[in-house]
Amino acid sequence: MTTPALAIDNLRIVYPREDEEPFVAVDGVSLSIAPGEIHAVVGESGAGKSTVANAIIGLIDKPGFVDRGAISVGGRPLGSEGARLGRDIGVIFQDPMTSLNPLFTIESQLGEAMRFHLGVTGRQARARSLELMRAVGIPEPERRLSAYPHQLSGGQRQRVVIAAALSCDPKLLIADEPTTALDVSIQAQILKLIRDLADQRGLGVLLVTHNMGVVAEIADSVTVMYRGAAVEQGPVGRVLTAPQAAYSQQLLAAVPRISEKLRRFAVLSQEDEQAGAARRRIAADYGAGRRGGQAPLLEVRDLVVEFRSGGLLGPPRVFRAVDQVSFSIAEGEVLGLVGESGCGKTTTANVVAGLVRPTAGEARLAGALVAGKGARRPDEAGRILQMVFQDPYSSLNPRLRVGRMIAEPILHHAVAASREDAAAQTQALLEAVGLSRESAQRYAFAFSGGQRQRISIARALGPRPQLLICDEPTSSLDVSVQAQILNLLKDLKDQTGLAMLFVSHDLAVIRQMCDRVAVMQAGRIVELADADRLFEAPRHDYTRNLSDLIPRVENARARAEGRSTWQT
């Protein structure tokens, strides 16, 4: 049997706490990675998966420490005499924008580890750097060597980071969420690169990720972690298609799939009756204020948004973020806006919300001009349109009590007759989103990310909106929490007939949520169709491309049967 690239035996990592039992971040985890094997460690935030990776690199945050257990790389223990970071272990971090030093050239950053660990000369280092850049697929490597990080795109930077990690021919590559900060198309390239490198160089890869699709596409084996313990381990094909442990089953059930639309996600913690009853009461209130008529609720016509920069010396540069975008949303309809970062989807949503002024075109909400030439946003627009934001940590005011945050729009739009009435409505809203009434007295920091997103939704529902703009409402949440929030939004939509503009980069989430979908690329809508039609028979090349590049959990079965699924 060959020496494993990485062997972890019974690892336990402990964080001592003041006046409390110490917190066990990793408890009795063992795993082994053969050369050429990609082993994924999956789990939700706080599961301890990154702590395992950090233990190998020796970067456990103080005051945590390795309580017991052994780690060996290529058969040798960690340490200055044994396996060393940079020489035997290469590391890829999450964000290529910050993991390269902006003040040094690519050449000096690539060659640094080689000069230090292998003692090679500058010329040898340069030759090897060129070779590495070719190996990771950077075009024109000679020219790029003298470039600075800011002159490369995000995908190229991540390739440079990978090249630097490989520079001393390590036996083990640690990739901690290597593609989370990247767009799908670049993600696909980087994942393929990692797979190829593992195959060609016999490199063991420890892949830490929360994305089950990524695991299904490139990993060979997987460890599922939950609260510091490895609850299940095995080959990807088996674990992802027929999970044994209850937690793995729950986790996989919560992953949105692109191939079929579910009515609801199966989540273990079923919401109590109270939340459903509270939602029905709110829905009953809705019935009275409903508008009749066939006219669309929101109509966006020929929207153009340009951003100008520079211009102090020389002509200003104009960047067209949104280019001739038109769409409409009927009452009770959910329209998805999907595309890669920078495609203009959030800018479009912001124009509708009144946060950005359009350069040309217009938006009408319930017949009233809310954006465009001569638009004076009516007060009513601030009531019937509400927004839920991406980052639950920045969307709640840290200095206000939750109750006041939710009551403010209710009082401002005089939906409640008195303060007492507003307080009662606030409590009903908190119940409707599955939080306790007492939450109103607390501040935002007392809540987890998922609970904050619920508060954000409760705040948005207060003034009884007819259109909810959701800007990536779940992309910073764990899958199980995401499933709960998506279920909540689905329930609200079913019970109140709320229309939504749902912005996301995640096609699987869009598939689960939307009636119709608009695909945006470089500021334009390239395809707009019913969700089922769009996902089953995409017409535009870009849509087809995007949908092919998404890593799918469903592919684990095909991989288990030995078929290749990866296409780039």
Partner: protein, 297 residues
């Protein structure tokens, strides 16, 4: 913050204790001081220039000696500290309110208004504090009759000091406001349609106040010093209503004739007050700076 005081180092505890004692004693001056130095009828020239009680020739009635008018130095210092603290505190209050309001508007509204406010601030900061305060106090005396009288002088001093100090608050608050304005919670209230004034003061203001508190504590000491300097230079409080600075100025004339106590004791009081406030201010700054917080713990 107050709760954190229990874990503060001993030096901070001592400084905080001193500062609180001085402020309390000064504010309660009529109750604490042995005599009333403002009542011209109560002192006698016969008692003038008596040394402190423990020095030969001292009089137990005048613990820290008496000045050239026969005033009890201890009482004069307690009343003087009260004037100094009230003017310093007033200047901080005025400067902070003005600076915070202008900084919020500059940071949130932006554009030309922002440029205008900040350029005025730049110009003001290019003058030394004392020079600007001297100019303001001087102009005020020329324009307003009786400006150097005990009724108006404190307000003129507060204005003169605040004219310079507000810029620091405005800059800090403007920068913090620009960061906060980008956050989603501000977008959320904009979508709701709240008026700008309510967004600025109801939602952003509470989130930009911690640096303001830090600057205010540190500036309190600076403001007390500036007031003392102005009074020392003769444009501050009149001798009939002396602050610590005025007392030092009066004493300064007698230092070389061997009558050292008139200048020394007010100066000591000033040094202790400023030092204590500064030590507490530094500690407050470190507590509010999350980057420094973990370091000493």
């Amino acid at each position: 913050m107050i709760g954190g005081l229990r874990k503060a180092p001993l030096s901070v505890l001592i400084a905080a204790g001193l500062a609180v004692t001085i402020v309390l004693v000064a504010l309660a001056a009529p109750l604490v001081a042995p005599t009333n130095p403002l009542d011209l009828a109560s002192f006698n020239l016969i008692d003038a220039e008596l040394p402190p009680a423990w020095v030969e020739g001292g009089d137990p009635r005048f613990l820290l000696g008496s000045d050239n008018q026969g005033r009890d130095m201890l009482s004069a210092i307690i009343y003087g500290a009260r004037v100094s603290i009230l003017i310093g505190g007033g200047a901080v209050l005025v400067a902070a309110s003005l600076g915070v309001a202008l900084g919020l508007v500059a940071g949130f509204v932006g554009g030309r208004l922002d440029a205008l406010i900040m350029r005025i601030g730049d110009v003001i900061l290019s003058f030394p504090t004392i020079l600007l305060a001297l100019m303001v106090a001087g102009v005020a005396r020329a324009v307003i009759p009786d400006a150097s009288g005990p009724k108006l002088a404190p307000f003129i001093l507060i204005g003169a000091i605040a004219t310079h100090e507000w810029v620091q608050y405005a800059r800090t608050v403007r920068a913090a406001t620009m960061v906060e304005a980008q956050k989603d919670y501000v977008k959320a209230v904009r979508v709701i349609g709240l008026p700008t004034r309510r967004i600025m003061f109801g939602h952003i203001l509470p989130n930009v106040m911690s640096p303001v508190l830090v600057i205010a504590t540190i500036n309190l000491a600076a403001a007390v010093l500036t007031e003392a300097t102005l009074s020392f230079l003769g444009v501050g409080m009149p001798p009939t209503y002396p602050s610590l600075g005025t007392l030092i100025r009066i004493g300064n004339e007698f230092v070389f004739s061997g009558i050292w106590w008139i200048a020394l004791f007010p100066a000591l009081a000033l040094v202790i007050l400023v030092l204590a406030v500064n030590v507490v201010g530094d500690w407050v700054r470190d507590r509010f700076n999350p980057k420094l917080r973990g370091r000493k713990a």
